[in-house]
Symmetry: C2
Subunit: 370 residues, 2 copies
């Protein structure tokens, strides 16, 4: 099966949409939340855990896997699906966000980017063509073009030059792509300038991709600025193709973005917070190390049906966290991901019933003071 | 169901035995290997993982749980089985081995032992009666008397005085015990003196317990000395009661001990080694970080049916280990425990068919050079 996106329904009150991503590794309902499996594993979980939670699609990181264990190894072992034992849809990012995260440790030029390995200090150069080659070797269902994620704040001129470079790289990526069974998404940049967001969107859409990532958001700007930029981008993307807001976000951000027309999300928040003992519940945030949970025999979230909530008390979860037990990371991750996957399922349901604004209101109320 | 032990069969060529432990939480075939769940969790695994592996009984540590989270908390939450969501048989040790491990940080007297909490430096005193009270609150199926594990080397006089103290403590433990649904095991000491081993065994058996732990071995003595001490102890234990060799050992040690008449084992080796990437296989030890496994697409152990070997390559396991991923600990632990549980199952089978010596020979051959 080749990749395709089917727009199923538009919500009556907002820009929200229901859709279906069809990939060689199965179908995914949108809006979708993708757990992050940076190093070819969603930290602490097996693929079976992920399926139990209801995850349908996972993201992995090109940059990390290129450095360790190396992409040729993964290719020789049958590709990333096989390597990590995940037979459902996969997306790899391009490494663009890692260039941004590396800051001073990376250098961008017309041809690509240079960076030093944090493992052995060795110097590496990757061009857009290299990034395509790497992602073709990994073999995810959806791959991303190489982009420059503009820092915040950035001047108008810097942002303009940067988005133009991202456009040229996107064109080279499309040119270099050779596998027919992978979908390629372009990435929109344009910093915090509505005009440049539009410009980037028009250029990237002009090249033409299977879907569109919206990058360069949640990099330090205010929430209202972020929503303004999203609103300055989405109208210029084709309605019949998927839109992927990269790296976001909190539960309330997901609803906000969906209501503006976003279909796909990934974020480390549920998994990273889980390992730090910060847990999402229907009654607000729970910081499991707090002494109030020492003797608490209730489940973490009385309204949650996840494995953790069905089998363990807050007191036990607190104990595992305080004792720095490995099982703490796992039980917390199961819960937080379940919360996100359930949330996105409820969002889909609300879209189906044309009551997303009411759902958003209920969610905000439940999280008051959280 | 109250506790009882049923001797099912004696092997024709050795002292090995098949038996059944009946406990309020179910029946366990002996010889049995108990995974160690020090802090109310077998590190990185859920109870479901343990059941999948075939584990039937788990050990937890009184000393650790007394300090954290505290035994009253566990009692109020329904006891240890409930707290850790493990509805099968449980054994708690008494803390005697921890007194030994603490060395200078603990002080022993007639009344009990004093030690400092490694968490907050607070001073604690525990008597044999306290240790019974704690273990009754935890509620394991089998509990242990408080003992002094004699250091190695120790003089004859020290060892004699020490075993006599252990005997007095054992008597006080039996006296203090009030719950009818828990079995209490006495612990034999006697250091490296055959005569004192016999003396301890006769004294402890004289008091009378539901089973007998053999302590104070594998504390730095040679292997041959260890086997000599075991052989100096076992003849003085009642044949119709279970014998538990505490804290041992390597796969080959298990067979050696079983052939001398031991029924029960616990050891951190499979779980601790797993986290360090040292893995037991049918073809000998595998150190998974070794570069030879970088591109190795074979399962860890081609003869193993565990979840890890059925689903992952050595290359992936090496990658997870090098990347310090949490899943590494888990997949390795599943494999190593499966190896131990399978091994003890094969030992039972060999006893059933009166071919334990042949089985031992085959095991030694498979592990040559490992």
């Amino acid at each position: 099966m080749k990749f395709c996106f089917e727009l199923v329904k538009k919500e009556a009150n907002t820009q929200a949409r229901l859709g279906r991503l069809k990939t060689p590794h199965g179908e995914v309902k949108t809006p979708v939340f993708m757990p992050v499996g940076t190093q070819a594993t969603v930290k602490s979980l097996t693929p079976e855990d992920l399926k139990d939670i209801g995850a349908e699609m996972v993201l992995a990181n090109t940059y990390h896997l290129y450095l360790r264990p190396g992409v040729d190894i993964i290719k020789d072992l049958g590709g990333l699906h096989c390597f990590m034992n995940w037979e459902m849809p996969l997306l790899t990012d391009s490494g663009g966000f890692q260039i941004y995260s590396l800051g001073e440790l990376s250098k961008i030029g017309e041809e690509g980017f240079t960076f030093k390995s944090p493992f052995d200090g060795s110097e590496h150069f990757l061009s857009p063509e290299d990034v395509m080659d790497i992602q073709e070797k990994l073999g995810a269902d959806i791959i991303m073009t190489l982009d420059e994620c503009t820092s915040y704040p950035a001047s108008y001129d810097y942002t303009l030059n940067s988005l133009e470079l991202t456009t040229r790289w996107a064109g080279r990526c499309k040119q270099a792509k050779s596998r027919e069974d992978q979908a390629l998404f372009g990435i929109i940049q344009g910093g915090m300038f509505p005009e440049l967001r539009r410009r980037s969107a028009e250029q990237i859409v002009g090249i033409g991709f299977d879907g569109y990532g919206i990058g360069g958001l949640s990099v330090g700007e205010t929430k209202s600025m972020m929503w303004e930029m999203l609103e300055s981008t989405l109208p210029f993307l084709p309605e019949d193709q998927p839109r992927y807001l990269m790296g976001l976000g909190k539960p309330e951000d997901l609803v906000e973005a969906v209501s503006r027309g976003v279909d796909m999300f990934d974020c480390v928040l549920p998994t990273r917070n889980a390992r730090n003992g910060s847990l999402f519940t229907s009654e607000g945030k729970v910081v499991i190390k707090n002494s109030e949970y020492t003797r608490d025999g209730a489940p973490l979230d009385p309204n949650c049906e996840c494995y953790t909530c069905r089998n363990y008390t807050r007191a036990y979860l607190r104990h595992l966290f305080m004792a720095q037990e490995i099982l703490s990371a796992r039980l917390n991750t199961i819960h937080n991901l379940y919360y996100y996957i359930e949330l996105i399922g409820q969002i889909r349901e609300a879209i189906g019933e044309d009551r997303l604004p009411q759902f958003q209101e209920e969610l905000m109320e439940a999280n008051v003071g959280a």
